[in-house]
């Protein structure tokens, strides 16, 4: 089914936050820290304009709110909406200025004089933990939010394995970069006695809760609306200082206020992601059977813990996903979640797993190189077999079902490896090197209460809810607590309800993203919406269907068990009644209802999947590329994806999610990086420096679906929104490794920009010559 959402977007008639027009609305510009680390000495407002400039003091009363897991050993640092004592990264908000438009607000911001006593900046997560490192938070003993050890089995038992490989790997820092930046419009609605906050967010209900905590308002006096949201990818799923500050300001002034993040603000001060350092040792038998992994993961978490979850989940997930899809029994990983003078990290499509997948899949290829074995064969020897499912990995994840070896076999069939090897042997006429790389990934999705409790999450997104309401003419409003920002859930959720009720999807209007309309929900993230919200919609639809059928059966004078809903009618062997007639009776002509039937056609249900550990989509990516050894330019000439996400509700949307995810993964692999210099200054502050792949950089994709329905979810669905982004850095790095195997160039750092590839090859050649 084609998407319902498309019409308004194609007409240029959608409404994003920046498209809202309210009378007397004023624009906000933030004064942001130019220093990475320092103490604020003074903030001087321009004379005569004091009333248009706001500092933290001016926004009081505000409650400091803490992000991060509810663990005693997690050191907390409140992220203030505006800094008043210290600044901890370049771009941190210090003051806000009101103007008649953004330009005049920026003029005013430029005239605010902030004096800062600068301190030395902490920019490297490993150096940050040395005794010499300056402290970000003076009441902490060091710069670590939390240190932990993830351990399973007995690593000491395999330390004398015949094959040991130690590698240091790094996945660098990224911004999430939805094309629509963040934005907030807030005002007081005096008629309804509520503070209205329009925000480009993935989870309006959770944001309302956070705002209520921060502003000290009762929750029923806040309405959060996410209108059309132009992509999120995780980057719009934390309560950010600007949202609190703009909402607080709306309570101080008598007009709507608007802040639209510009791209520079996005790159320096929005949610940042990744930046994992791995130092791993892999133990294997001489036959390439991997026994264990040991080492450390440092996650460069930035200066603060974002509400609600903070950065710890990133580190834990990185460590727990290191065994990947393999039967590795022994795991011992020390993790460090490290505070640095950079913008705080948060979730970004794949959360931790692109780094973990990069690390394990690179290690597997390094093992293949060490043993002189084919990377495919090494994988075959170590993959979890279908007969072992459900399989608990050494990382404690329960891989529910699927056939990983078959997925690998399909990928091989699709690429014709012998032919590619032959081409590789012959060489390319232009001197480029052909490389083929594989990566296997899993994607935990639809995980429920126990899993989030295990992660010590402050907010436990363990269920979703749906209200389905049939109107007098038989059309339907479907209200859900998720937030669709490109995933097409207005379409797929209406498909589910339509199937359960035997009506046409066009008679269903899905409403989401508005706490004033929808029942409690958590929003769209963690590949959860089709599992959770799809389940809630199915349950609510069935509850409604039961009532419709009961009424219909009574009117048809047959047992309720003998009727079905199909083609917009209650059907029985003795006749049919249009659902619209029942809707009319139930809503506006109650005298037509059978005696004893309560009027109204509405149902609200919550749903949590029974398997709290989630269901795992998985897949294999096979990349063929050409790499220029001198310029370092990579051209992807074939990209094959074999994936299994259980039952597909809308195959077109599923493919769209896969392709879009892989495109972002290619960005992670080859282009996107937020570097900081030694003073903590970000050096990618525009799209001139931060490279986002465009159409010439992204290839066509060939996709094969396997369908192993999940056993625990409604319809057998599994979430799959993130999987595409997980495997590409691993697969592409392995392909580059394959392309340059003859000179032993090692690709252990993302992104593999032309410069990095060129340098890596040059270094390898120099090493080879020296030997």
């Amino acid at each position: 089914m084609l998407r319902k959402e498309d019409r308004r977007h194609l007409a240029g008639a959608s409404t994003f936050v920046a498209d809202l027009r309210l009378p007397r609305m004023r624009d906000i510009a933030f004064v942001r820290s130019p220093a990475a680390h320092g103490c604020i000495v003074s903030i001087e407002k321009p004379t005569g304009r004091e009333n248009s400039v706001f500092t933290l003091e001016d926004l009081q009363p505000l409650n400091p709110i803490s992000g991060g897991p509810e663990i005693a050993t997690f050191r907390n640092a409140t992220y203030p909406p505006l800094a008043d004592e210290k600044v901890l990264f370049v771009g941190q908000t210090i003051a806000m200025c009101i103007g008649t438009n953004r330009a005049s607000a920026e003029d005013l911001a430029a005239d605010v004089i902030v004096e800062i006593d600068e301190l030395a900046a902490v920019v490297d997560a490993i150096d940050a933990l040395t005794d010499e490192a300056p402290l970000l938070h003076e009441d902490w003993p060091d710069n670590s939010f939390i240190d932990a050890t993830i351990t399973e089995g007995d690593i000491a038992a395999v330390r004398d394995a015949p094959v040991k490989i130690r590698r240091q790997l790094k996945m660098n820092r990224q911004a999430t970069n939805p094309l629509e930046t963040r934005g907030v419009v807030a005002y007081q609605d005096h008629r309804l006695d509520e503070l209205v906050v329009y925000s480009s967010t993935q989870g309006p209900h959770v944001m309302r809760h956070g705002l209520a905590l921060a502003l000290g308002l009762p929750e029923h006096k806040i309405r959060v609306v996410a209108p059309d949201v132009g992509g999120g990818f995780g980057g719009k799923n934390r309560l950010m200082p600007e949202e609190i500050a703009v909402a607080a300001l709306a309570m101080k002034v008598d007009h709507p206020v608007r802040w639209i993040e510009d791209r520079n603000e996005h790159l320096v001060a929005s949610i940042q992601a990744r930046e994992h350092h791995y130092d791993l040792t892999l133990y294997s038998t001489a036959e390439g059977r991997v026994l264990g992994i040991e080492g450390s993961v440092h996650v460069d978490a930035g200066a603060f813990a974002l509400w609600p979850s903070g950065p710890f989940m990133e580190t834990g997930m990185a460590a727990r996903n290191l065994p990947g899809s393999y039967t590795i029994e022994h795991l011992h990983i020390r993790t460090h979640t490290v505070a640095t003078n950079k913008a705080p990290i948060g979730p970004y499509r794949g959360v931790a797993r692109p780094g973990a997948c990069f690390a394990i899949e690179r290690m597997i290829d390094e093992l293949a190189d060490e043993l002189g074995c084919c990377p495919v064969e090494i994988r075959r020897r170590n993959l979890v077999q279908p007969t072992m499912m459900p399989y608990r990995t050494a990382g404690g994840l329960r891989l529910d079902n699927g056939d990983y070896p078959k997925a690998l076999a399909h990928a091989l069939e699709m690429i014709d490896l012998p032919k590619l090897r032959e081409r590789q042997r012959k060489g390319e006429p232009d001197g480029r090197k052909l490389g083929v790389g594989f990566a296997v990934y899993t994607e935990q999705s639809g995980h429920g209460t126990l899993e989030w409790v295990k992660r010590k999450s402050r907010v436990v997104p363990g269920f979703e809810s749906a209200t389905i309401r049939m109107l007098p003419d038989g059309t339907i409003n479907l209200l859900v607590g998720i937030q669709s920002h490109g995933q097409g859930l207005e379409t797929s959720l209406s498909q589910i309800a339509a199937q359960e009720l035997g009506v046409d999807p066009s008679s269903i209007l899905v409403r989401h993203g508005d706490t004033g309309l929808s029942p409690q929900g958590f929003g769209t993230f963690a590949s959860r919406s089709i599992v959770f919200s799809g389940g809630a919609v199915a349950k609510a639809s069935r509850a409604l269907a039961t009532k419709i059928k009961a009424i219909g059966a009574q009117l048809l004078q047959v047992p309720a068990a003998d009727v079905t809903l199909r083609d917009g009618a209650v059907q029985s062997s003795s006749g049919q009644i249009p659902i619209a007639d029942i809707a009319r009776a139930a809503n506006i002509r109650p005298e037509l209802l059978p005696a004893g039937t309560a009027p109204g056609l509405e149902a609200t249900e919550t749903y949590e999947p029974p398997e709290s550990g989630g269901v795992f989509s998985y897949g294999v990516h096979a990349v063929t590329l050409l790499s220029h050894p001198v310029t370092g330019v990579t051209e992807i000439i074939d990209y094959v994806i074999v994936e299994d996400c259980g039952t597909l509700i809308n195959p077109m949307i599923v493919d769209g999610q896969i392709i879009g995810g892989v495109a972002q993964g290619i960005g992670t692999a080859l282009y996107e990086e937020l570097p900081y210099d030694e003073n903590g200054q970000p050096t990618a502050t525009t799209y001139g420096d931060y490279m986002i792949p465009c159409a010439p950089e992204i290839p066509n994709f060939r996709i094969k679906h396997m369908v192993t329905p999940a056993e625990s979810t409604e319809f057998g669905v599994k979430g799959m929104g993130e999987g595409g982004a997980i495997a590409p850095p691993a697969a592409i790095a392995n392909a580059l490794n394959d392309a340059h195997r003859d000179c032993k160039a090692k690709f252990l750092v993302t992104p593999m920009t032309p410069r990095r590839v060129s340098d890596t090859v040059a270094d390898a050649l120099a090493r080879e010559n020296a030997e």
Partner: protein, 159 residues
């Protein structure tokens, strides 16, 4: 302030702008034509693409004051355009949009590509889209939609 008289979607408009205002400021903030979006505000993402005197431009880096006497066409001006309706239909059928934020700019670029190339090759389409960022779709549907629309509009030539 500078007065700018221009024709927007066949309507004559006269607006006062600051010398530093961009065409995107003029269209979105003065004329409330919010169909196209501003994604980067420094001419790199293409979301704000409109046609200025028949040529696609990134309206965020065109000064409004230099548009005096110009003809501007925005996505709103294409709502009854038969050729754009074909492009729209193929975008819809090929899943060439997800969040929709880049879509109006993509469409304005698409009809320009089709006008100039007739039936462009895949490489031509990809190359011409090098200034348009879509963060959601991975471009595959967009490229396919433009090619399919071009074939429908201009026949099956290889160009």
């Amino acid at each position: 302030m500078v007065e700018v008289k221009l024709t927007v979607n066949d309507q004559e408009e006269a607006v006062f702008v600051d010398a530093r205002d961009s065409l995107s400021d003029l269209l979105r903030e003065k004329l409330q034509l919010t169909g196209m979006h501003v994604g980067c505000d420094h001419g790199a993402c293409g979301a704000c693409t409109v046609h200025l005197d028949g040529t696609p431009v990134r309206s965020c880096i065109v000064l409004a004051a230099r548009c005096d006497g110009s003809k501007v066409r925005t996505i709103e001006g294409t709502r009854n355009d038969a050729m754009m309706d074909i492009v729209r239909r193929h975008f819809h059928e090929k899943h060439a949009l997800q969040c929709g934020f880049c879509t109006p700019g993509m469409l304005m670029m698409s009809i320009d590509i089709i006008s100039r190339y007739g039936v462009p090759s895949e490489n031509q389409v990809r190359s011409e889209l090098s200034g348009q960022i879509c963060r959601c779709t991975g471009y595959m549907g967009i490229v396919a939609a433009i090619q399919a629309a071009a074939r429908e509009i201009n026949g099956n030539g290889d160009n």
